[in-house]
């Protein structure tokens, strides 16, 4: 099992959700996060007081998939989230040791 953590532009969330649904991935966890990579922040001015806002709002998706579905999921996600500009985000992939469905204690890929 692999966990895909993707940090994407908030306005791309709908596209990504649709793309994942299209390939049959229907479980995901989403959180609102703030952060930055190479994208520069922006400046805000309130009555002459300047603030540099470099932690920008992003959305983080967490998805766990069977190993066999990893490539397909990552490519669908990447395509849907891409605008080609700085700030599109990152995808991180890691291995998952175990998954348990709380309702009936199913384990392993069957629990996904």
């Amino acid at each position: 099992m692999k966990k895909i953590e993707a940090i994407i532009q908030p306005h791309k969330l709908e596209d990504v959700k649709e793309a994942l649904k299209g390939i049959g991935v229907d479980g995901m966890t989403i959180s609102d996060v703030r952060g930055h990579g190479r994208q520069k922040g922006h400046k805000e001015v309130y009555r002459g007081q300047e603030y540099t806002v470099d932690l920008l709002p992003k959305v983080k998706l967490e998805i766990v998939v069977p190993d066999a579905r990893l490539d397909q999921t990552v490519s669908a996600l990447g395509q849907a989230a891409r605008t080609g500009k700085l700030g599109d985000g990152k995808i991180f992939i890691s291995s998952i040791d175990e998954a348990i469905r709380i309702r009936n204690s199913d384990r392993g890929e069957g629990a996904l």
Partner: protein, 463 residues
């Protein structure tokens, strides 16, 4: 609509016009008729004037709550929004009680040129009969309650300077003392009968302040600066971000201030008169031009005109036109507003940063600076073509400002502004010292970090 049959209508008319049997109409001489007419005219004028003044009183109260409470509340961080709004709201209670007991008397009864007496204490003698010195056509109580609304908003304006760091108890004691030591004396000097600066009621230095450029705005703005300097900066200012937590609230607040200001300025005509219209138009014009002035300056300097800038500009324009609103023509009002937008922008956005004091919500930059500018420009543009209430011994309207050829008035205005500055500085310093000794002014560091909503009031705004 239901129609009454014709013959029935005729019957009703006949019955109404039929003289009652055995009661011939009493003969009425022309003198009696005239007396009755005069009474009817006076009563009609009272009805009109009183309706406008009561409406204006309500409008001016609306400026404090919710107007100022929202304007200031939006500018602070979310952990302090309730405490900030409370600082305005509680004054609607505290100053009202104080005003009823002694405040009104100290400001508006006859006494020395610098302070009234206790003649009207507990509103003794302040009834429904007009007080001809102040307003001959409305009940004295209407005038009293109208003036009360000014006394409420003035200390509320100061709270912008010490927002996010002052103890609630200290703030309450400070504003109560300030009302007595600074507000009432200054109101007496400028508006009270026999007041030192009152051009209309026997003042030694005739000064024109239609609705409170000195009494309200210089006094609150300059006191605000003293408070900001005395209390020191907020923890983390200026390197920690202290962005306004909700500019939407501030926009709503500023719009309420704009509308309420019609009561503030046009109500100060103390009648539903042409002068009220003049003040209304000037108020609106100055506010509009100031919003544009500030936006333009910001656009040129920062590349973008901010919403917060536009609404702050409108308030600056309202402040500056306040003393002039019943003395100038509409075109000078536009100019006064536009200048106020530019000058207050420089004070708030450039000078404050350079001087380094933490006037958290810019009470000084807007009210102190705008009020002083307005007080001086009243001496420039004041004209008896708008306000001819002041007559010389032969009954001719007196020249008011430079616009009438009376350049010396600018010096009078300057003197009044200096006196207001002086009283505000000295009075505020003394009161701060006293409150500091009795209660302590600032919350503890932990309480400041936690936020005043929780530490002072045990509540949170957004749950």
């Amino acid at each position: 609509m239901r129609r009454i049959p014709g013959h029935l209508g005729c019957l009703v008319l006949l019955w109404m016009s039929w003289p009652a049997a055995g009661q011939p109409p009493a003969p009425e001489g022309p003198a009696e008729k005239i007396a009755k007419l005069e009474a009817a005219v006076a009563s009609a004028q009272t009805a009109g004037d009183n309706a406008w003044l009561l409406t204006s009183s309500a409008l001016v109260l609306m400026m404090t709550g919710p107007g100022l409470a929202l304007f200031y509340g939006g500018l602070v961080r979310r952990k302090n929004v309730l405490a900030t709004m409370m600082q305005s709201f509680i004054l609607m209670g505290a100053v009202t009680v104080l005003w009823a007991l002694v405040g009104y008397s100290l400001a508006f009864s006859e006494g020395t040129p610098f302070l009234g007496s206790l003649k009207y204490a507990f509103l003794n003698g302040v009834g429904l009969e007009p007080n001809a010195d102040y307003a001959a056509t409305i009940p004295h109580q209407t005038y009293m309650v109208f003036q009360l609304m000014f006394a409420i908003i003035t200390p509320a304006l100061i709270t912008g300077a010490f927002a996010e760091r002052m103890k609630f108890s200290a703030m309450l004691l400070f504003t109560v003392l300030w009302s007595l030591v600074v507000y009432s004396p200054l109101a007496h000097m400028v508006w009270g009968k026999g007041g030192y600066l009152n051009a209309f009621l026997g003042g030694k230095i005739p000064t024109f302040d239609f609705a409170g450029g000195t009494v309200v705005h210089i006094s609150s703005g300059v006191s605000a600066l003293v408070c900001a300097l005395y209390l020191g900066k907020r923890l983390g200012y200026p390197h920690e971000p202290m962005k306004p937590h909700n500019v939407v609230l501030s926009v709503i607040g500023a719009c309420l201030l704009w509308v309420g200001w019609f009561g503030f300025n046009a109500g100060s005509a103390v009648g539903a008169s042409g002068l009220a219209t003049s003040a209304f138009v000037n108020t609106h014009f100055a506010s509009a031009a100031a919003a544009l002035g500030w936006s333009l300056a910001e656009w040129l300097r920062n590349g973008k005109p901010s919403v917060l800038g536009a609404v702050t500009g409108c308030v600056a324009g309202l402040v500056a036109i306040t003393p002039a609103s019943g003395f100038v023509k509409p075109m000078p009002a536009l100019l006064i507003g536009f200048l106020a937008g530019l000058v207050c922008f420089v004070a708030v956005s450039i000078l404050k940063g350079k001087l380094g004091y933490d006037d958290s919500l810019d009470a000084f930059g807007v009210h102190g600076v705008g009020g002083t500018l307005g007080a001086l420009l009243t001496g420039v543009f004041g004209t008896n073509a708008i306000n001819n209430a002041l007559k010389d011994s032969s009954g001719h309207a007196v020249a008011l400002g430079l616009a009438d050829g009376n350049a010396g008035q600018i010096l009078n205005q300057l003197w009044a502004a200096l006196i207001s500055w002086g009283l505000a500085i000295v009075g505020t310093l003394v009161i701060l010292k006293v409150v500091d000794l009795v209660l302590g002014l600032r919350v503890s560091q932990d309480e400041e970090i936690e936020g005043l909503d929780l530490s002072q009031h045990g509540e949170e705004a957004y749950n």
